[in-house]
């Protein structure tokens, strides 16, 4: 046997042998056949002592060279085969990412609460505080302190729910708006006053698509030196743009409330059409959406609170989160807000 010739043959066959190994076990066998004791390399190694001493270094060097090359080829093949194995493992370990195997439960904050939080945040950003007060309230704070005369029809039992409680001179009712909180706040705070008052209000209304006997209101009040009608307009314009979008315009038109003078209704430009599109499903084609009542705080209200109406002035507004939410989210009936159907509640996350 010519060792040199045999080594050349071995080297030439190595690549084919290794390619023939398709897994790591096969690679073990191939390695044994190429470099093991019974391989050509093993035979030559054993036969080295029988070689002519002058031949030995040359054959030895060649042997070393060939085994190194083959070992390199084996290592490369091993990496290849390991990668294949790993990818097979990973493939078998895969998941269907479209299948919901684990669901973390999550509820929803009531849309009215979300609306209240959103609106109060707008005003908190303008330096307002958030105030609250009792729902079973004295007629004094609900009406008298707000310049509502004793004969005003809003006081009638057809409009207001009265409680069978306490002293008849201190009539207790379910507040018809959150405005009594302004009277309570002003009674115990000096100007400047910047507050918003979210909360529940009650009226003797039977339930239909636009009325609930219990609903929510967000009252706003700013009393300070130099508060003007333009401040009312600017503040509500800011609010409307925050809530309905930056393109929103507002329109103030004269109205009447006992607790403000001048009084106004605020209309917000329709966000669904480009102002007065015939048959618009949101505004009905008028281009405007009636949104809230507001005005400059009546001097009688300021006086009752112990403020001097020749020194300070203020504005107030009352907005219904139900109305805001219905308009913005296209909700056709106010009843959804008290049905508490989770299929409805979860639409608003």
């Amino acid at each position: 046997m010519d060792p040199n010739l045999s080594l050349d043959e071995l080297l030439a066959s190595a690549e084919g042998v290794l390619t023939g190994a398709t897994d790591l076990v096969g690679l073990e066998r191939a390695e044994a056949s190429l470099l093991g004791r019974n391989s050509v390399v093993g035979e030559i190694r054993r036969a080295m002592s029988g070689l002519d001493p002058s031949e030995r270094p040359r054959v030895g060097a060649r042997l070393q060279e060939v085994t190194t090359v083959i070992a390199g080829l084996i290592a490369t093949r091993r990496v290849e085969l390991e990668a294949v194995g790993e990818s097979e493992l990973l493939r078998d370990d895969g998941v269907d990412v479209t299948l919901e195997r684990v669901t973390f439960p999550r509820g929803a904050i009531h849309l009215i609460q979300q609306t209240i939080d959103e609106v109060t945040d707008v005003f908190v950003g303008l330096g307002y505080m958030v105030a609250s007060g009792p729902e079973a309230e004295l007629a004094w704070y609900n009406f008298d302190a707000l310049n509502t005369p004793p004969t005003h029809p809003a006081r009638l039992e057809t409009d207001t729910m009265y409680l069978d409680w306490g002293n008849p001179d201190d009539q207790v009712l379910l507040r018809t708006h959150t405005s009594p909180v302004q009277a309570r706040w002003m009674e115990s705070h000096e100007p400047p006053v910047y507050i918003v008052v979210p909360g529940r209000a009650y009226r003797t209304d039977t339930i239909d698509a636009t009325h609930l006997p219990v609903f929510h209101q967000i009252e706003g009040l700013a009393v300070d030196r130099g508060i003007t009608f333009g401040d009312l307009r600017g503040t509500l314009l800011h609010f409307a743009r925050e809530f309905f979008g930056p393109q929103t315009e507002v329109r103030l038109r004269p109205s009447f409330f006992p607790f403000t003078e001048p009084s106004a209704e605020l209309d917000v430009s329709c966000f669904a059409c480009d102002g007065g599109e015939v048959g618009c499903r949101v505004c009905g084609g008028s281009g405007w959406l009636e949104m809230l009542g507001c005005g400059m705080v009546d001097p009688n209200v300021l006086e009752t609170a112990g403020y001097d109406p020749s020194e300070v002035s203020g504005f107030a507004f009352g907005v219904g989160p139900e109305r805001l939410a219905m308009v913005r989210h296209g909700i056709e009936s106010i009843r959804h807000f008290i049905d508490n159907d989770i299929r409805f509640l979860r639409q608003f996350r």
């Binding site: 684990v102 669901t103 973390f104 439960p105 999550r106 509820g107 904050i109 609460q113 939080d117 109060t120 908190v124 303008l126 330096g127 307002y128 505080m129 958030v130 009792p134 729902e135 079973a136 004295l138 004969t151 029809p153 009638l156 039992e157 729910m161 009265y162 409680l163 069978d164 409680w165 306490g166 207790v172 379910l174 400047p192 910047y194 529940r200 003797t204 006997p213 219990v214 700013a222 130099g226 003007t228 009608f229 333009g230 307009r233 503040t235 038109r253 004269p254 109205s255 009447f256 003078e261 001048p262 400059m296 001097p299 109406p309 020749s310 008290i338 508490n340 159907d341 299929r343 509640l345």
Partner: protein
């Protein structure tokens, strides 16, 4: 209130007749336009005609052959109506006319006789429902003019919602006056034909309640012949939404719509003893009103009496006994000014809100009574062929004078911002009919038709209204200190935590019945509940002392709509009958948090049946809240009403009971028709949101920990928390955590095994095995001593 534009035209020459431009003007004056109805007509071929001849049809009994003059010779028209004779003025549709319903008029032959058009009924022209005969117009209308001129078509009718402070705006005149100020133009009051005869009404008027009746004027019209009003007047009334009745009644309604002052016409011969006395009624009296209803009067009712008794309800509705009828020949016309609240309460008490009462309850101009009375009397005379007497009975109960207000420019500046001048302000106020003298202050005399204007602020509103609400430049003032309080921030966090735990927020109505609460097993009597005097529904007249009934109903609603798993929470008020501590004038009321969960809860995993709601789930939610809000609370076993007696915890915070967490009692679950276990809780909100001390930062130990498990056998009544706290005590600061990782009940009767994993770690050293052994032994001893616990497997 409806106002036809054609009627308004009599009062003002408007710069525009465009309906939307006018609607905008009204809107910006504060008169909300609820509807705009454009009445059109294509009656180019309908004319006023006069019947000049009538002959029977040669070949038909029920129709007649008429010769009708329509200004250009006479036309032969066949007509089936019999309510007219020769000389009648009628509406004639000539060939080519197209009537409502695409009904085209042509020349046709009826049984051999040619008919060149049609004499029309109200229904055929779409003017009304009357089809009993053709329209017979009053004499004096020019023959040949287009019929549309008579009925003032096309026209536009505006429907307004007038704010309660503006009684003056409830009239054509009032609208004209506001528009005149808006456009800065003139308006006028059209004159009526007025030729009274000498004489004073044969009537005595007495006001016994001068506060209720401010002024009472009466006039008399004689030789009245009751019949229909002029056709044009009837059309105007119809457009304004008022049904024509007779010339006398129409005259009162016409003047009310035009000037805003309601009137009432009495059949003078039915006024017993020729006297009218205004006084309050007394219990037991009755009065049958025009609508035929017998009214039981109360001492607050303000009534007009004659010699026989009650004969009219002031400002609300007349009485049947003195009603004007077809046989009436003499009329007393009343124009009176009433105390607004009196009329408002009376109208509501008797459920009788009329066009008159809605005006009187807002306040009708004191100074308008005589003008209105003369106008109405003149119209009755003109339309009925009668004579109005010149004399007016005018009795004043409480005189009213124009308000006088001093307005400083500073008042205007303060509310509207600087920039207005005395000249501008004076000019605006004068446009509104106010008298203005002086410069600063301006001395303003307010006409009595504006009872809402009594103070500088009211004048400022008028200035803003006429100047234009939308012309004020927007600006944004800001508060000096704002932001949410700690409690408010904590409440928002609470909401988020609950939502993260799978609960959705509900809002339920706070009205409950005794039955709701009995079903819950609450030992409350009716007297313990706050009661609404005038509830929407008698069976829900109580205010809730607990949020649970509403939530349980909401859960049932969801189950019945196909949801299997429902988790709801609510934060809302509960009410009690004790006086509130913070304001004893009010009943106690505060906010609570409550939740109800049924069905699956928690992590959902495919193929593994998820956890379902029960007491442990409720307790888990509670611990989550406690953890999220940093609340230290005590939890102990409890049996409050409504809750499951052995699966409920009482929560104490700061030594006070804050609420309960657990499961609904099986009995209540049955009564509420809820299947399976129902996890519930109700906790007062305030202690959850109360400020907590800031947490102290402690550096985590860098030394190794040691874990070991101890399994104790205890009586089944022993609370796990007690076992942990007893064993923890001996470990002192070395104990990092202790957690029950297994509970096993089947060991021996009345016993349970609790396996606890303890973790020890020192902050300053590595613990030695000796130290650990001492702690471990101490725990075992303590558990045995305090709770009789035996170490299992020992």
């Amino acid at each position: 209130m409806r106002v036809p534009l054609a009627w308004l035209d009599e009062f003002i020459d408007l710069p525009t007749r465009d309906p939307s431009e006018l609607a905008l003007a009204f809107t910006m004056l504060g008169h909300e336009v609820e509807g705009v109805t454009e009445l059109s007509s294509d009656w180019s071929d309908v004319f006023v005609g006069r019947v000049v001849g009538i002959e029977p049809h040669p070949d038909a009994d029920r129709i007649r052959v008429c010769q009708v003059d329509i200004g250009a010779g006479s036309s032969q028209i066949i007509c089936g109506a019999w309510n007219f004779e020769v000389g009648a003025t009628v509406a004639v549709a000539t060939p080519g006319a197209v009537l409502p319903g695409e009904f085209e008029i042509g020349e046709r032959e009826i049984r051999g006789v040619v008919s060149r058009g049609m004499i029309c009924s109200e229904r055929e022209l779409g003017l009304g429902d009357d089809h009993t005969g053709i329209i017979v117009l009053e004499d004096g209308i020019e023959v040949g003019i287009p019929f549309s001129e008579v009925v003032e078509l096309p026209d536009v009718v505006f429907d307004f919602s007038i704010t309660p402070n503006r009684p003056d705006a409830m009239s054509v005149l009032g609208m004209a006056r506001d528009l005149a100020a808006h456009f800065d133009i003139e308006y006028r009051i059209p004159q009526v034909y007025w030729k009274p005869v000498a004489g004073v009404p044969d009537l005595r008027v007495k006001i016994e309640d001068p506060l209720g009746c401010r002024r009472f004027t009466a006039m008399e019209i004689r030789d009245v012949s009751v019949g229909p009003s002029p056709f044009k007047i009837r059309q105007r009334l119809r457009k304004a939404g008022v049904r024509p009745i007779s010339n006398v009644v129409d005259a009162t309604n016409y003047v009310m719509l035009e000037l805003g002052h309601p009137l009432h016409a009495f059949d003078a011969d039915s006024v017993v003893d020729r006297e009218l006395v205004v006084a309050r009624a007394w219990d037991g009296q009755t009065l049958t009103t025009l609508d035929g209803v017998e009214r039981h009067l109360s001492p607050e009712d303000l009534i007009i009496y004659d010699g026989q008794g009650p004969t009219s309800m002031s400002g609300t509705m007349g009485g049947a006994r003195s009603e004007v009828s077809a046989s009436t020949t003499r009329v007393f016309m009343e124009a009176a000014s009433w105390d607004p609240p009196t009329i408002m309460f009376m109208a509501r008490r008797h459920d009788l809100r009329s066009e008159a009462s809605t005006r009187f309850e807002r306040g009708v101009d004191f100074n308008l009574a005589e003008v209105a009375n003369q106008r109405a009397s003149a119209l009755v005379a003109e339309w009925s062929g009668g004579e109005a007497l010149e004399g007016v009975i005018d009795v004043v109960g409480t005189p009213e004078h124009p308000a006088q207000v001093d307005l400083r420019l500073a008042d205007v500046d303060r509310l509207l911002g600087p920039g207005f001048t005395v000249e501008e302000v004076t000019s605006i106020l004068r446009r509104l009919g106010m008298g203005v003298d002086g410069s600063d202050p301006m001395h303003v005399i307010v006409p009595t038709f504006r009872p809402d204007v009594t103070r500088p602020a009211d004048l400022v509103e008028e200035i803003a209204r006429i100047y234009g609400y939308d012309r004020f430049a927007p600006s944004i003032p800001t508060g000096p200190t704002g932001g949410l309080t700690g409690e408010q921030r904590r409440q928002r966090k609470l909401h988020q935590v609950l939502v993260g735990a799978g609960l959705s927020q509900a809002i339920t109505l706070p009205f409950v019945s005794g039955r709701h609460l009995m079903d819950l097993g609450l030992p409350l009597g009716e007297a313990d509940l706050l009661t609404i005097k005038n509830p929407l529904r008698e069976e829900e007249s109580k205010l809730r002392p607990t949020l649970l009934p509403g939530l349980l109903e909401a859960v049932r609603y969801n189950l019945s709509h196909g949801s299997n798993s429902v988790s709801l929470f609510e934060v809302g008020s509960v009410f009690f009958t004790e006086p509130a501590e913070w304001d004893p004038r009010l009943p106690e009321q505060y906010q609570r948090l409550s939740w109800v969960r049924v069905g699956d809860v928690g992590l959902g995993t495919l193929g593994v049946h998820p956890r379902t709601a029960d007491a442990s789930v409720s307790l888990g939610v509670w611990r989550l809240i406690q953890d999220a809000l940093g609340i230290s609370a005590g939890v102990s076993s409890s049996s409050p009403p409504g809750f499951h007696p052995t699966r409920t915890a009482e929560i104490t915070i700061g030594g006070r009971v804050a609420g309960h967490v657990g499961e609904l009692s099986p009995r209540a679950a049955r009564l509420y028709d809820l299947p399976g276990r129902v996890a519930i809780a109700e906790v007062d909100l305030a202690p959850l949101l109360a400020p907590i001390p800031p947490a102290r930062g402690v550096a985590p130990s860098q030394y190794p920990h040691v874990d070991f498990d101890l399994s104790f056998l205890v009586d089944s009544g022993v609370a796990a928390a007690d076992l942990i706290s007893q064993t923890s005590e001996t470990a002192g600061t070395l104990l990092e955590s202790a957690r029950v990782f297994d509970e096993f009940a089947g060991v021996a009767h009345g016993k349970k095994a609790l396996a606890i994993r303890y973790r020890l770690r020192a902050s300053d050293r590595t613990l030695t095995s000796d130290e650990i052994a001492v702690v471990r032994a101490g725990m075992i001893t303590a558990a045995a001593a305090a709770l009789g616990a035996e170490l299992r497997g020992a």
